[in-house]
């Protein structure tokens, strides 16, 4: 990309609140979706400037529609008191200093318009309450700053009313899509999911080749024939995993790990070419029809393959969608009502002795607890490991039976397969974890500057444990985190290979032969 060279901001010795740099990121604008990309998602294409009145009316109508459909948005628009609790919590604000990246300011970009069109004081005294008309400039500002939010929900942890900026960002992007102002990266990917089956655009035959190649590699490596099956009817488990796992580094090492776990435990499993993608970018763009449509593929694959269990691989937002929304959207879960044939059709097929859906970490940890897996922990002795909690897992989902299981279970697995584990500083992990800087539909090179800056707080926490405790490996369970860190670690003087998956560690240590 042309423009000034992208550099990491200096790490701060004592992470304090950054100095405000108004409009530091004001010009940032990810590539806009072409009319073709928009059309594939049934969104309108770019609107000519002279049609502004139409664009304006469409946007306001869409906003009204969303306010009527989503209690969260309505309550969040009304409830903020500008207390300031969230102002220093966003990694993009910390990394850029741009005050519009403070969560409250990001919300206010929309709240000001909400006040103008949907509240009495805003209609009567706009200046007094900070209300403003929707103008082309406002829409541009939305496009810029609603693509500087990774929807990580860190601010919602600290807000006294639980206001979740992610919901506001999603609504913002949904309104932008409705007026033909879509983001190329996310919308193009959703188009690929529908056309080809996954985000990376890997067609079925290529996927089959890839998996066969993988089987050969693993055989060569371990001397054991481990299967990576595709579209196997009657398998017990359907594994839904991010398509990055099929060939991206370091993702594939975790896929190898899942296969070894299934092999060692003797569980029959399969991938699906129809649903060869766990990711659901419908979440990122706040479009619930897309959210549903993408989730529906998983339901159809499960019905067609007749599987008893649905397990999800290492992917952050996909796990949020799977855990929190799949049951609502497509009935993958438990507890369908008696008059709910849609959900019953699938739920009667699933084996409810197991959690539905289940995270691969839950599956592995259950097997470890049952003594079904054994490990050479020494095989990981060259690694001093820390764990990066991924935002959607940490703040939008759960694992196991207890709240907070999403923190304990991955850590338990790491401790079970490796000897050297170190925590990063409190306040940067668990529910207060910092986003990697590339989530929420921002994992694109046209936003690289933002991604590098947004990684700052995580990099600072990492530096404390690499310098002080000798950490040389950061494990995580999210495909976006893995890709993002691989890309931005070098900007901070680290090797890209120091990030990897939890099942990469499992893969290194698991004993295969003697079971």
């Amino acid at each position: 990309m042309a423009g000034p060279e992208i550099k990491a901001p200096p790490m701060r010795e004592f992470p304090t609140v950054p100095v405000m740099r108004p409009d530091a990121m004001g010009g940032l604008k990810p590539f806009i979706a072409s009319d073709k990309i928009q059309a594939d998602l049934n969104f309108p294409g770019a609107q000519p400037a002279e049609n502004w009145q139409h664009t304006h009316d469409t946007a306001i109508a869409k906003m009204g529609e969303l306010l009527g459909q989503q209690r969260a948005l309505k309550v969040y628009m009304d409830s903020c008191v500008h207390c300031g609790a969230c102002t220093d919590k966003c990694h993009y604000f910390i990394g850029t200093g741009d005050p519009k990246n403070m969560p409250v300011a990001r919300q206010d970009l929309m709240r000001s318009v909400y006040r103008r069109y949907f509240t009495l004081p805003g209609k009567l005294f706009p200046k007094l309450v900070g209300a403003r008309d929707l103008t082309p400039d406002v829409l541009d500002e939305w496009y810029s700053y609603y693509h500087q939010c990774s929807e990580c929900r860190r601010c919602s942890v600290f807000c006294p009313y639980g206001i979740d900026t992610a919901e506001v960002t999603m609504a913002g992007r949904e309104i932008l899509d409705a007026v033909g102002y879509g983001q190329k990266y996310s919308n193009e990917i959703i188009g690929k999911v529908h056309k080809i089956g996954n985000n990376l655009g890997l067609p079925g035959p290529a996927l089959r080749d890839t998996l066969e190649g993988l089987e050969e590699d693993v055989l060569e490596d371990t001397g054991i024939a481990i299967r990576y099956p595709l579209d196997q009817k009657g398998a017990e488990v359907l594994l839904i995993t991010p398509s990055a796992d099929f060939f991206a580094e370091p993702h594939i090492d975790s896929l190898i790990g899942y296969g070894k776990v299934f092999h060692a435990a003797g569980i029959s499993w399969t991938l699906s070419s129809m649903a060869s993608e766990a990711g659901n970018f419908g979440l990122f763009i706040g479009n619930q029809e897309q959210l549903l449509k993408i989730a529906m593929r998983v339901r159809e694959a499960a019905l067609e393959l007749g599987v008893k269990r649905i397990v999800v691989g290492e992917c952050g937002h996909a796990w949020r969608v799977a855990y929190s929304f799949w049951n609502t959207l497509v009935g993958i879960g438990d507890g369908a009502g008696a008059n709910d044939p849609f959900a019953i059709q699938l739920q009667s097929q699933l084996d409810h002795r197991y959690k539905q859906p289940m995270h691969i970490c839950e599956l592995t940890w259950d097997l470890i607890q049952q003594g079904a897996l054994s490990f050479d922990k020494e095989a990981n002795d060259h690694r001093v490991i820390t764990f990066h909690d991924s935002c959607n897992v940490a703040r939008g989902s759960r694992m196991g039976d207890m709240p907070g299981g999403q923190f304990e279970i991955p850590r338990n697995i790491i401790r079970a397969v490796a000897n050297h584990y170190v925590e990063m500083a409190p306040g940067t992990t668990h529910e207060q974890t910092f986003c990697c800087g590339g989530g929420g539909g921002l994992l694109t090179d046209d936003l690289l500057d933002l991604r590098v800056k947004g990684a700052l707080p995580r990099m600072e926490a990492l530096k404390l444990v690499t310098d002080g405790k000798g950490v040389n490996f950061m494990a995580t369970i999210c495909a976006i985190c893995k890709s993002q860190f691989s890309k931005v670690l070098p900007y901070y003087g680290y090797k890209m290979g120091m990030v990897g998956g939890v099942h990469q560690l499992v893969s290194t240590a698991i004993r295969l032969g003697d079971k």
Binding site: Q69, P121, G162, L292, D340, R398
Partner: protein, 240 residues
């Protein structure tokens, strides 16, 4: 003036109640199509009730966020509650025992309330980030609350008003039997500002009070796998 204030309070009470009922009904009716609690979250309704109680009595999230805002905000809100309870003596005859017991605490609370509000306002000037996000109405709201407190405390500590007559006025108001209100400038100021606060409540950020109870990230149980959460809106999508 008696008639003016009587009319003003009838109007303010009506706007406050009808406005709030309308807003709450609106929140209630708007679907929450997905489970979006900020996790880790309680897995049961009982757990959610406890979470909400901690949130509205201890301001748990704010405590995690920023100690200064928490101290000032919590002191202000608790003091305000005590002050409001203290004022129940103007609406009950005989005064309930626990309200009588609270009277001296209510006075201290009035002073602490002023300190809390002043601190919160000071932050709007001194902290760069908060200065940036403050709107004109944020300042006016603090000015309004401070003026109410100051005018009230002035009647307690500087120029006494005939509170027995004030009580007769409000007791009468509740029975639609208008009694004379003492002619007292400070009292007029105090009551006008209180009425103004009641009038703007349902249209302003003061909606955070009912809003917090409807915030899906706080009031939903974390049980999506165990129970199928459906709303009319998602059900409609399903059949498309």
């Amino acid at each position: 003036m008696t008639l003016f204030f009587a009319a003003l309070f009838y109007l303010a009470t009506a706007v406050l109640l009808i406005g709030l009922v309308f807003r709450i009904a609106d929140y209630w009716r708007t679907p929450a199509p997905f489970l979006i609690p900020t996790t880790p979250a309680p897995t049961t309704r009982g757990g959610v009730v406890l979470r909400m109680l901690r949130e509205v009595t201890l301001f748990e999230s704010l405590f995690k966020a920023n100690l200064w805002i928490w101290v000032l905000g919590w002191l202000f809100h608790v003091s305000l509650l005590l002050v409001l309870l203290r004022h129940l003596r103007y609406f009950t005859q005989p005064v309930w025992a626990w309200v009588a017991f609270l009277q001296p605490f209510g006075i201290y609370a009035g002073l602490i309330m002023v300190a809390g509000l002043a601190g919160l306002w000071l932050r709007r000037f001194t902290v760069e980030r908060i200065r940036y996000i403050s709107t004109f109405s944020d300042h006016l709201m603090l000015l309004l609350l401070l003026s109410i407190a100051a005018s009230g405390l002035s009647m307690k500590f500087l120029v006494h008003t005939d509170i027995v007559a004030v009580k007769e006025f409000f007791l009468g108001l509740m029975l639609f039997d208008i009694q004379p209100l003492p002619a007292d400038g400070l009292l007029y100021v105090h009551l006008s500002l209180v009425a103004l606060l009641m009038l703007i409540f349902p249209f302003s950020k003061l909606l955070h009070a009912p809003g917090v109870f409807f915030s899906p990230s706080r009031n939903q149980a974390d049980n999506p796998r165990e129970k199928r959460h459906q709303s009319a809106w998602t059900a409609k999508l399903e059949t498309k």
